[in-house]
């Protein structure tokens, strides 16, 4: 870790001034990812601009048009256990609680969650080639131990996975990300927020330096009746997803009015396939139909030496999770498979 400055920002304007002083200045929220990156010498910050003192963005509010706005500085834990979220957006609550550990969720913020870096082993080791960390140096994961890596949307430059659970639910719910900067405000649709690696794997998302996430807006529709989050991983808690699935269904009897299916642990961003969701529209909620959707979602998936299992696993996980969404009470703690 290099020596860096620390500046607390109590006002939005001040936060922008401080962060714009140097391209290597960074916002500090919960610090659960950023501080690790500093310790591993993967990020060298000149100054950490602590945004926790900002007066706004710590709460959850309902907007006049029935949407719900999650403050960027609210912790993951306070979000997941908020009555409004538990009642109206239980999918989001479930997904958050499937992530990390209680201690980390108590520190981690909603804004920081969107910006956490990949968990690729090679990214975390400053002494080996990695295009994301050091563009042009090569990708060690492609010929290496790639069990945890992506099967969809990969490029010859990077096969890393975006590791968030929360964001899988946010993708399914069609959230938008609210952003402010010295230049003004903008909103980014969730689908446009995270990027695929392509030949620019060093860019995880489309946020610019100096832009602050102020909140995340959830549309009115929360799919609170039929939803499920399933997370498959190498231990029952405190491990990142090998494959996770968020399913949200709007049902009329056993007819599907609308389906949302997002995958985590398989790509450089939460993975949704519109054709698959369209396929389910107006169909009955059966295993067979979910299986057909699963095939479509995994179309084009490409495995590497150690992770080809994810293709079949993801298909099965989609089917199972859609079935679980028909009976949300069948969900287990830790987003384990139903009993």
């Amino acid at each position: 870790m290099n020596n860096f400055d620390y500046g607390a920002a109590a006002e939005l304007k001040d936060a922008f001034i401080q962060v714009n002083e140097n391209a290597a200045n960074a916002f500090l929220a919960g610090g659960t990812n950023l501080i690790d990156l500093l310790k591993y010498n993967l990020v060298k910050a000149e100054k950490l601009v602590d945004i926790n003192p900002l007066p706004d963005y710590h709460g959850i509010e309902e907007t006049s048009d029935g949407k719900v706005r999650l403050g960027a500085l609210l912790t993951n834990a306070d979000t997941a256990y908020h009555p409004l979220i538990e009642t109206n957006y239980p999918l989001l609550s479930r997904a958050i609680l499937a992530g990390a550990s209680a201690q980390i969720r108590n520190m981690a913020t909603n804004g920081g969650n969107l910006l956490q870096r990949t968990r690729c082993y090679y990214f975390y080791d400053a002494n080996v080639p990695c295009n994301k960390r050091n563009p042009g140096s090569g990708c060690s994961a492609i010929p290496g131990y790639n069990r945890t890596m992506a099967i969809l949307g990969t490029s010859e430059y990077c096969i890393a996975v975006f590791p968030s659970d929360m964001c899988v639910a946010l993708a399914a719910l069609d959230a938008t990300v609210d952003v402010s900067s010295a230049e003004g405000n903008r909103s980014i649709a969730f689908a446009d927020f995270h990027r695929l690696p392509g030949n620019t794997p060093h860019l995880d998302n489309n946020l610019q330096h100096g832009e602050l996430i102020t909140g995340i807006t959830l549309p009115k529709k929360g799919f609170e009746k039929n939803y499920s989050y399933l997370k498959l991983r190498d231990r029952n808690s405190y491990a990142f997803a090998l494959v996770s699935v968020a399913t949200a269904l709007d049902l009329d009897g056993d007819r599907i009015k609308e389906a949302r299916i997002a995958l985590g642990g398989v790509a450089h961003r939460p993975w949704r396939v519109k054709e698959a969701e369209d396929l389910l529209q107006n169909q009955t909620a059966t295993r067979e139909n979910f299986a057909a959707a699963a095939d479509l979602i995994l179309k084009g998936a490409k495995g590497f030496e150690h992770n080809s299992f994810k293709i079949e696993l993801a298909k099965r996980a989609i089917i199972r999770n859609c079935m679980m969404a028909l009976h949300p009470e069948s969900q287990m703690p830790g987003a384990q498979p139903s009993a």
Binding site: M1, Y121, G144, Y145, K310, L313
Partner: protein, 746 residues
């Protein structure tokens, strides 16, 4: 009023409150004014040479005191032997900063000493090093063909090579009707105790050192430091009262000890060196091992032929060995046996003992193959083991000193409900889950080494007992206090046990499940000697009511010596010291040695039977160990509570070994990739369900006076095979690579 014996009681750890309140001080918590901090620079290449280390700009940083590397390190002992510790395998021990050669990835190549830890760490992150790289090999699986016989040495005493072949294995196997075989692979594992490896060396002037070290052997480290740095033995004190787990990683002096001492001597300052979590992956580990088995049985289920071969990784500089293949004929006396153990030297650090070394590796292969044989025979796996039950260890042709394994099988099976197991694989279901029952046997040698202990009675009637032994979290402190209390018939509260300091009477390294028998026997010897001394002094006292009583004619109880025939005739320990010994403590130091003449007539082992229930999600493969029961026969149980904790911990480890932990080795880079506890998966609470422990009474009159066998490893050996056997029962799939990844079941 007679107080019940302290041994056999469930007494909570005496030091427990210190630990949970944070008052217990660990080696990295001894703070003194002027302390300097060292941070280690590790090699980023796997093999080759250091061409240049750019130390000048580092030394120029304000607050950096010095940078040590092979270029400027002080000279240390020249001979390999001087670096050998009590657990050193045959070969040439690793010497930190010895020369420019890089032997493995992560090798310590420099020590930066600075005024703060943070500065030293920062300096380590910016130091540049030029290397000349060489081609390396770290992959066991592609090199097992290079396997060769291990060198033998002192280590072979505790780790005997495989017994000679008996009968005609190939012929017997070819002719047999019922056979089972398998190929098994276990990857690298790292110990990962919670406490990081830290040494705080206090420079006490003129080559005198007080060293707070994380270790499983204070005397071992004292010897090592004195030998390597040419210091007088008595000038080196190694202190380690609390150890936050070690699991074998503290059996050998680690490089932070060397570096901390080196810097302290050179700078004549107090120096602390702490290894961070990722640096804990830069010394010993459990070696990856490839095994092959072929077992045969006759139609009645008698095992007739056993072939077990292992290829294990070692470093290029030491022949680290384990007992992997010797176990099967000890349990299942076949006429035809062929056992072989080979080493494959690779470009890694030397492997190192890790809880149940060898046993947990070998027994997985053995018990899985036996399970498979049971299916071939259409026999219940438990019945197959009972059928082949033996009270004789055929590998040495001696009876077991005691063996209540049969009771472990029977009582364990009953409590677990083994009878409810439907024999066919995939025949038990619960909702979406396939349910499987599996069982396995565990065995571990019961060993003992010589040790010394001091016992002293003071004027307040308290017993002070001393031994250099450590307490690595196992409850040694408490258990030794209990043993000592019974020697003098005192309540535990009147015993003060001092330990974890090399200046105290000699104890060997704490490992191999032999601490309780080893140090316990020494304490017993000292206790007996102290009883004699107390009586002698008591009898000399004016008007002593004890008259001419011999030791057999008195009892020691509640702080008194009492005549057996006349309980009114009693003298208190306090009076003996105050009136008979001028108030001066009465002291004795004695040696406890294994009685080899007696022991050599027996084979000695602790045993266990493990029963496991798993649930496997039929669609997704996700595995949960829903229930596990271990029945243990390990001689006398001194403290059921701490003993149960030992077994529970082992069972959690067994679940970990079967389903969770693995060090990921990238063979193209020649390095470990998951060097942190986020990615090195040890079980979390959500992985652990119903665990049960049963101790089966076992009276062993031969093993040692206390009848103790030790519990450190026995709880682990049988768990992983019981789990994989249960997975087979649930799914019909035999998975021989550990850890099992659930996707192998898709």
């Amino acid at each position: 009023m007679k107080n019940p014996p302290a041994t056999g009681q469930s007494i909570s750890r005496i030091e427990g409150p210190l630990k949970v309140t944070g008052a217990a001080k660990y080696s990295g918590e001894y703070n003194v004014p002027g302390l300097l901090y060292g941070y280690v620079v590790n090699s980023t290449i796997t093999k080759g040479k250091i061409i240049k280390i750019y130390t000048e700009e580092i030394k120029a940083l304000p607050g950096v005191i010095d940078v040590f590397s092979h270029e400027n390190r002080p000279s240390t002992a020249w001979f390999d032997m001087k670096y050998a510790d009590m657990d050193a395998p045959p070969g040439s021990p690793f010497r930190p900063l010895h020369d420019a050669e890089i032997r493995y990835n992560g090798q310590p190549i420099a020590l930066i000493v600075a005024e703060t830890f943070e500065l030293a760490r920062y300096a380590a992150s910016i130091i540049s090093v030029d290397y000349e790289k060489e081609i390396f090999d770290t992959d066991l699986r592609s090199h097992f063909g290079d396997g060769r016989e291990p060198e033998t040495g002192m280590a072979s005493l505790l780790k005997p090579p495989p017994p000679e072949p008996t009968g005609y294995f190939e012929t017997a196997y070819a002719a047999a009707k019922y056979k089972a075989s398998g190929e098994f692979y276990h990857g690298t594992e790292h110990h990962n105790p919670m406490e990081l490896f830290t040494t705080t060396t206090l420079y006490e002037g003129k080559g005198k050192l007080s060293i707070y070290d994380k270790t499983q052997g204070t005397v071992n480290c004292q010897l090592y430091v004195a030998n390597v740095f040419g210091l007088r033995f008595k000038d080196v004190k190694v202190i380690s009262p609390f150890v936050g787990g070690a699991f074998g990683s503290g059996l050998r002096p680690q490089y932070q000890l060397f570096l901390s001492v080196m810097a302290a001597l050179e700078l004549k300052r107090h120096v602390r060196v702490t290894l961070d979590r990722s640096q804990m992956f830069t010394f010993g580990h459990r070696p990856p091992t490839l095994q092959r088995t072929r077992f045969a049985a006759d139609a009645d289920g008698m095992v007739t032929a056993l072939n077990h071969t292992a290829f294990a990784e070692t470093s290029r500089f030491e022949d680290y060995t384990e007992v992997v293949v010797n176990w099967s004929p000890k349990l299942y006396p076949a006429a035809h046996t062929l056992l072989d153990y080979k080493l494959v030297p690779l470009d890694v650090f030397s492997p190192m003992d890790m809880r149940a070394p060898g046993g947990s590796t070998g027994m997985h292969a053995i018990e899985s193959t036996l399970d498979e044989l049971a299916y071939q025979l259409k026999m219940d796996p438990l019945d197959l083991r009972l059928k082949n039950y033996t009270m004789i260890d055929i590998t040495v042709n001696l009876p077991y000193s005691s063996k209540e394994l049969k009771e472990c099988y029977l009582k364990g099976a009953e409590k677990f409900g083994w009878a409810n197991r439907a024999p066919e694989p995939r025949s038990m279901k619960r909702g979406h889950k396939l349910v499987g029952y599996g069982m396995a046997t565990g065995i571990w040698d019961a060993m003992q080494a010589p040790a010394r202990a001091e016992a002293a009675m003071t004027r307040d009637g308290k017993l002070h007992v001393k031994s250099a032994v450590t307490d690595i979290g196992t409850g040694t402190f408490t258990v030794m206090t209990q043993i000592a209390a019974d020697e003098l018939g005192l309540p535990v509260a009147d015993v003060i046990f001092s330990y974890g300091d090399s200046k105290l009477p000699f104890a060997p390294i704490q490992g191999g499940s032999m601490t309780t028998s080893t140090v316990g026997t020494a304490i017993r010897a000292a206790g007996k000697a102290l009883r004699k001394k107390l009586l002698r002094v008591a009898k000399r006292m004016k008007d002593s009511p004890l008259g001419k009583a011999e030791l057999e004619e008195v009892i020691f109880q509640n702080g008194y010596i009492i005549l057996k025939d006349n309980p009114q005739a009693a003298v208190s320990f306090a009076d003996i010291i105050n009136d008979g010994h001028h108030g001066l403590p009465l002291k004795t130091t004695n040696t406890g040695v294994p009685n080899m003449a007696k022991l050599n007539k027996y084979s000695r082992a602790a045993h266990s039977a493990v029963f496991v229930e798993v649930e496997v999600d039929e669609e997704l493969g996700v595995i949960n160990v829903t229930r596990a029961l271990t029945a243990v026969a390990a001689g006398k149980i001194i403290n059921p509570k701490t003993s149960r904790s030992q077994i529970l911990g082992s069972m959690v480890w067994g679940i970990s070994k079967a389903l969770r932990e693995e060090t990921i080795l990238d063979n193209q880079l020649g390095k470990y990739m998951n060097q942190n506890l986020g990615e090195y998966h040890i079980p979390v609470h959500a992985d652990i369900h119903d665990l049960d422990v049963m101790f089966i009474e076992e009276n062993d009159e031969h093993i040692n006076e206390l009848g103790i066998k030790g519990l450190g490893e026995i709880g682990l050996v049988g768990v992983a095979p019981a789990i994989t056997n249960a997975i087979f029962h649930a799914t019909g799939k035999r998975l021989n690579q550990l850890p099992v990844h659930f996707d192998m079941l898709l």
